[in-house]
């Protein structure tokens, strides 16, 4: 039999309980997860896209996907990481659809810096947008989401060395950009 909780009880329940209920097909539990996770997911996607409308659209799509496949989640405790992985894949897929290369370090970076007016103050999101997609994703997962290099390598199915190099080079480039325009 399916167990359900009232909206109040759901709001007070631990996330693993809410996830477990959503895994059993409880739609109000899933709505509660949307309420709890929407902000961090949208922030994460905004860091990647630098476009609030696109980020929100992708985030909505991620929640729909999560609802469709939440039964495949191996454990309730893995929900946060799983959701981030869905979001990263959704963004990468969006880029692939537009045939944007994921790992072309030089062109994207150099080109945009040259194009930016010198008087403009470079904020974090602008600087992030100068990084190619894959290094940007690794940097955001490490610095914004607090994931370890190993977790990022597993989530993105990339070699650990590649992740470390993306983060080191990406962070160096960010510092350079922020210093040059800061």
């Amino acid at each position: 039999m399916k167990r359900t909780l009232t909206a109040q009880a759901l709001a007070a329940a631990a996330e693993t309980t809410v996830v477990a209920l959503a895994m059993q097909g409880d739609d109000s539990a899933f709505d509660e997860l949307v309420r709890r996770r929407q902000e961090s997911l949208r922030q994460f996607l905004r860091r990647l896209c630098r476009d609030a409308t696109l980020a929100d659209d992708l985030a909505q799509q991620v929640f729909v996907q999560a609802w469709q496949s939440i039964r495949t989640l191996r454990a309730p405790g893995a929900f946060g990481g799983w959701l981030r992985k869905l979001a990263a894949n959704e963004w990468l897929q969006w880029l692939r659809h537009r045939r944007i290369p994921l790992d072309s370090l030089k062109q994207v970076g150099e080109l945009s810096v040259a194009a930016a007016p010198i008087t403009e103050r470079m904020d974090l999101d602008s600087a992030l947008s100068q990084l190619p997609p894959q290094p940007r994703l690794c940097v955001v997962l490490a610095y914004s989401e607090g994931m370890s290099h190993g977790e990022i390598a597993t989530a993105l199915q990339l070699p650990l060395g590649t992740v470390k190099s993306h983060i080191a080079r990406g962070a160096a480039r960010l510092r350079e950009l922020l210093q040059a325009y800061g």
Binding site: D27, F30, D31, V34, R35, Q38, E39, R42, Q43, R47, D56, A59, Q60, Q61, F63, V64, W67, Q68, D123, L124, D125, A142, Y143, S144, E145, G146, M147, S148, H149, E151, A171, L174, R175, L178
Partner: protein, 104 residues
């Protein structure tokens, strides 16, 4: 959250500062609408699938009944002492033949 100790503290600070609060109401409503659309589409798909299955069953029912009656008649013929004896003889010959094959 596990953090890497080799993180640049300045970048860590900038990332932490960049986290503002976002208005939630519209977003949650949009997600609810999208989910409702997906649920409706899924329900429609199930209904159409069930309707097609039932239509196929109705069309095939006479043939299925005929086939099952014919099969039961054939099984009645098989279920007789003559067929049992024939079956035992065939089984015995098959056993002997395989044992001879193994001895070679």
């Amino acid at each position: 959250m596990p953090m890497n100790t080799d993180h640049d503290p300045e970048l860590t600070r900038l990332f932490a500062e960049a986290r503002g609060t976002l208005p939630a109401a519209d977003f949650i409503t949009d997600v609810a609408e999208r989910l409702a659309r997906v649920r409706r589409r899924r329900m429609l798909f199930y209904c159409v699938a069930v309707a097609i299955l039932m239509a196929v069953l109705v069309v095939l029912a006479p043939d299925l009944i005929d086939a099952s009656l014919a099969m039961s008649a054939a099984l009645t013929a098989v279920n007789s002492p003559t067929f049992w004896i024939a079956g035992l003889l065939i089984g015995g010959f098959a056993l002997l033949w395989t044992r001879r094959g193994l001895r070679r």
